[in-house]
Every structure is written in structure tokens, then in C-alpha cells.
Symmetry: C2
């Protein structure tokens, strides 16, 4: 096994920052997952990060994640044990040993939770995920585009309840798991999408965890050198700066479990006299300036503090903040017709088609 | 194995009528379950009804039932296959063959659904249940009073989705299964409370299925002989006639998935000048006359047509109907402190204590 790197407790700081950037405003605060991962690494030792292409074709790979409202997840700090319970229960259902841990969602809190299971089990963690970003629903993964079933899936809560789901589609997995998670108090731990190494090689968005680490390192280095952190981030991601401005207006509502809303920014410097409207549903999904769509889901839209480059989540947007909006291309899989159907603007009930932001 | 009787498709007519009487106004219309059972019996042969005391101590016994809103259950006529899917899936989870089928609830639709599984599997059906009547929630069974866990439980829908639940209490089973059932469209099929023969001998309310059959036979015979069906029913059940009157007022509301309400009757014959108030939550739970409580849950309160003795469900109560209200004692287990806590008036949010109706 070729180890890309060994991830220790300190490395989790950078990875969590990177996870917040790829979280594109949503996905929950990686701080909580970082604390869980650091605790597990201190107890069991560093995590072996592994290239997906190194997997044996017949290896069994299992993604783990937290599900629920970010606010609840961060209030009810879960014990790493509960993730391990889900993982081990799925292993029992599969009737064979799992060979590697996978990350379902590299953005937000779930960029860090798989490190808990990898450290606790001693198994390698694949450097990649099923989104290359954050999305709010279980079926919104590249695994779905490759015909991988989300089930058998195990869902556990912090009280000791657990469910094994077998569903007829990944959309049904989302519905039933969502209902159970709400009943369990708003947060649950999952092991799902069991897949072979051969499938993982095709279905995984590769390299996203080491990208998370590089994002964190880059921002940290730029601040240490007193150079421009946002410029360093833009260069690393191959991103475009969509806008630089101040928040003039925020509109929020909670609908169907989503934190939906709009933020309006008025431009400064090169963008003086212009306005930007950001539409969000947990994640930033659409950036529009004076009637022109600049970027839409599935491309990534992140908002960072103009000075520090620190990522800003949709729920921490405040009047008067000076921010920069960045966009960069999503994984090519999301730009296929199947990808657009699963996570394009129309799925989120916006009345326009996907336009690649370039 | 000592067979009490072989139940054929015609016998299901009487059993369904008896199930409606023990349904005490709720539990869903046994007509649907009867059709399913008749179909299965015609295809696979009669059902062997077995005395619980004949079970080997190490036998594995599994109750099956439908869960959900009675109106939905009867609109979405399930195929017997879905009950068999739940049953076989629980057998796989238990890792051993099931030896006998059990009835969770002898009142309402679930007095007949276990016949589907017994006929389809060729296994004997135990003559008994976990209530001796109908109740709306999964934990409301004598099995709970004997410390039997509702899980592992399998819950299936008509689309092919299934869940295996493991919960920390039977109240949690109810919460999670209820949430899943609602998401599945309001109706689901269950196999749960797996127990040994030794436990079943203590925890089962024995004889309720043959009582259902006798109730149906008794009403049918009385009508054929032009004798008084209500009197025959009262004699069979050791019941007391609480009231004879006409419905003057009905008040209904749906709250938390319950069909709650009150019906007021004005007396005729011996009860002229008096009024009766029946409180219901799916089932009739309290009968009160002019400020005096005549009977309360867990004792059984049934309402029948004064002429035919035909049982009347809470959702078919209509202004002007001439009805008789009967009450008879519940199984002694329900009168223990644990039983009263689980299904007494206070659990249903009525502000008074249980008073044995005698």
C-alpha cells in the first residue's frame, strides 16, 4: 500500500479549514469533526491517507458521515464511538471485513469525520470523496452517478438506536434516513454506499482530502508571510474572483429542513457600483450580478473574508462584512446530464439551466 | 403439536367480526386483512391454530402486523408478499428458522394479518396476541411488560424499501417506526418482538384468536335464530351493557396521528333521560355518564348496533345511530402498575386514574 501521507492531529487544523472552503458555505462547521478526529488520532495514532487507485479491485470500501442539521450536529458533539458503531454494524451486514474508509463529502463537517473511523479502526482513508464539495442530500454523490446503491446503510444515534436500511433508490434512502434523523433529535451517524475497489476507482472524486490539507496550508502560509491569502487561494484552486464587496442585505428562511436565503453585496474596488446576489440553500448555489448569472451549482461558489481568506458559512453572514466571492469548476462528473439532473439549479427549484461559470 | 383448529377461508369471516369487536372502535377495518388472509389460505391451505402452551421453550416465535393510519392501510391494499418479506427478513437477521407466527394485536386489521403469514409459510399461528384488544402504539403490548424487546424488527413498505431496527427501548421503536411509516406513505408491514417459546407462554394473552372466531360465530348464530345478538355477545364476553342510546353529537379532530374525539349519546329504554360521553383516540378509551366514569382503558369498551350487534368503529359513528355501549374486563396484566403506566388513562393524557369498570 502506497501511503500518500500520514495525517496527524496537527494536520487536522489545515484539513478542517480546507473542508470549510470546499463546504461552499454549508456542510456544517468542520471544527466539531476536527476535534473528534484529533481525539481519535491522539488515542490510536495517525491516519494513513491512500490513493484510490491503489485499492485492490475486490477491496471493500465504506464511506462514513454525519447527517443532520449543522446547528444540531455542532450542539450535540457526538462521540467517535457512534461512527464506529455504524461502521462495524455495516461490516456485520456485509459479512466481510472492510478494507478502507472513504469520505462521502469533502466539504464541511464530513471532511473530518472519516478521520475518526480511520484512526479508530487503523484502516487507510482514501484521498477523495463523493462530491468534491458539500451538498445537503444523501443521494447527491458521484457514487449515485455510477449506479452505486446507498444501501445497505447503517444509521446510528447517540442513544444506542440503529437502523439498517435497504431501499429501492438512493432518493428513498435520503427520505427514510432524513425522517429517522429528525426523530433521533436532528443528527445521526452513517455508514453507507459500500463499494468495491474497482467501483471506487471510477466513482470517487480523487484527491479532495489532500486538497483540503493544501488549502489550509496555503492560507496559513500566506498569512505567516503577510502576502494575500485570497490570491493564494485563488491560485491554488484555479478559481475566479467573482466579486469583492460588503453585505448590504440578508434574507433567510428555513424551508423543508434547508436554510434558504439570499445575500446582497455592494461592490468595492474593481466592483464599485455593482451588486452581487448570492442564493443559498445550506450551500451557496447561485451568484448573480445585476441580472447576469456568474456561477451556479454544481460549480463551487465560496465566500471568504477579504483580508484573511477565511471561509464564511451561509449562517454566519452578517450585515457590513467585507467579503470576496470565488468560483471554480466542479468535478467534470457533475457537468454530465446525470450530474446536472442530480445537483443542477433546477433540482434546487431555481428556474434556470446550469451555465458553466467560465 | 396439538392443533386447536384448522382455520379455512370461510372461518376468516367470523374472525374478522370478532377482531372488529376486540378492536374497541379502532385498530383498522379487519375486512382488508380478511381478504388478504382468505387469498393466502385459498392459495396455500388452512392455518393451524396452536395453543401457546404447546410451544417448545426454545422455539422462536415472531409476531407480524401492519402499522399506520387505518384509512391509508385500507386504501393501499397490501399484498401478502410484503408481510412475508418482513417475516423472512427478520428470520435472516435472527439467523435461525422461525417456528411459529404470533399476532401482536387481536383487535382490528391485525387480528387477521398474521393468518397471511401463517398460511404462506405453513407455520402454526399461536392462539393469542399481545393485547387482547387494539391499541395504537407498538410498545403497548404485554410483551413490553415482560421485558421483551420489540427489536430486532423489520419494517417493509409496498415499494421494496425495508429497515432493520435495533432500539434502546420499545418506546424508541415506536418513534422511529412511526416516522418511517409516515415517510413510506402512511402504512408499513412489520415483523418484531422475536421471542422464545418460554417467554411467549408468559407474555402472550392466550386464546384471543379463538375468541375472535367465537364472537363472529355467536353474532351469526343469534341473527340466524332471530334471538338478540347483543345479549348473546354480552353473555359470551362477560360484558356489561353500559348504555343504550342515540348519537346526538360527535366531535372529531386529528392530533399527532390520532383520530381523537368525543361522541355523546342520549339514552333510550332503561337509559332514558341519561347521557353517555365516549372519548376516543382511535379506540374508545373512556365512557362517562352524567359526570360518572363508567369504564376506562385498559378495560375494553365496544360500541355495537343495537339491532344487529355489529361492531361500530370510531370513524363510522354518525348522528342518530342507535347503539349499545358494552364494557368488559381487560387481561389482568393490563391492571398491574406497569400495565396502567403503559396504557392507562393518564398515558393518553386524560386527567384521571384507572377505575376497574366493575
Amino acid at each position: 500500500m502506497n501511503i500518500i501521507r500520514m495525517v496527524d492531529a496537527n494536520d487536522m487544523e489545515d484539513i478542517a479549514i480546507g473542508g470549510a472552503v470546499l463546504g461552499t458555505g454549508g456542510g456544517g462547521d468542520p471544527h466539531v469533526g476536527k476535534l473528534m478526529a484529533q481525539q481519535a488520532i491522539r488515542k490510536y495514532g495517525p491516519v494513513k491517507l491512500m490513493d484510490v487507485m491503489e485499492l485492490a479491485d475486490d477491496a471493500l470500501v465504506v464511506p462514513v458521515c454525519m447527517m443532520g442539521a449543522p446547528t444540531v450536529m455542532t450542539e450535540k458533539l457526538p462521540q467517535g464511538d457512534e461512527l464506529m458503531n455504524a461502521f462495524r454494524a455495516l461490516e456485520a451486514v456485509m459479512g466481510r471485513k472492510i478494507d478502507a474508509v472513504l469520505c462521502g463529502e469533502a466539504g464541511g463537517v464530513n471532511s473530518t469525520t472519516p478521520f475518526v473511523v480511520a484512526a479508530s479502526s487503523g484502516l487507510p482513508l482514501i484521498d477523495g470523496d463523493g462530491m468534491g464539495r458539500a451538498y445537503p442530500e444523501l443521494q447527491m454523490v458521484t457514487f449515485t452517478l455510477h449506479g452505486v446503491s446507498a444501501t445497505p446503510m447503517v444509521l446510528c444515534d447517540d442513544k444506542g438506536n440503529s437502523l439498517v436500511l435497504e431501499t429501492v433508490s438512493n432518493a428513498w434512502t435520503e427520505r427514510l434516513a432524513r425522517a429517522a434523523t429528525i426523530e433521533m433529535g436532528g443528527s445521526a451517524l452513517l455508514a453507507f454506499y459500500p463499494m468495491s475497489g474497482a467501483v471506487a476507482k471510477k466513482a470517487v472524486v480523487a484527491g479532495t482530502l489532500s486538497l483540503c490539507a493544501r488549502i489550509g496550508e496555503t492560507l496559513r502560509a500566506a498569512r505567516a508571510e503577510h502576502s494575500d491569502p485570497v490570491k493564494a487561494l485563488v491560485d491554488l484552486l484555479g478559481a475566479k474572483t467573482l466579486f469583492h464587496g460588503r453585505i448590504m442585505d440578508i434574507e433567510r428562511r428555513t424551508e423543508g429542513g434547508f436554510a434558504r436565503g439570499k445575500a446582497t453585496l455592494t461592490g468595492v474596488e474593481d466592483w464599485r457600483g455593482q451588486t452581487l446576489r448570492l442564493d443559498f440553500q445550506n450551500e451557496f448555489l447561485i451568484a448573480e450580478s445585476d441580472g447576469k448569472v456568474l456561477a451556479t451549482t454544481p460549480d463551487l461558489i465560496a465566500v471568504v473574508e477579504a483580508d484573511s481568506g477565511a471561509p464564511v458559512t451561509t449562517d454566519s453572514l452578517k450585515y457590513g462584512q467585507r467579503l470576496m466571492a470565488l468560483a471554480w469548476p466542479c468535478n467534470p462528473l457533475w457537468r454530465t446530464p446525470g450530474g446536472i439532473e442530480l445537483v443542477g439549479p433546477r433540482y434546487f427549484k431555481y428556474d434556470h439551466d446550469y451555465v458553466p461559470f467560465e
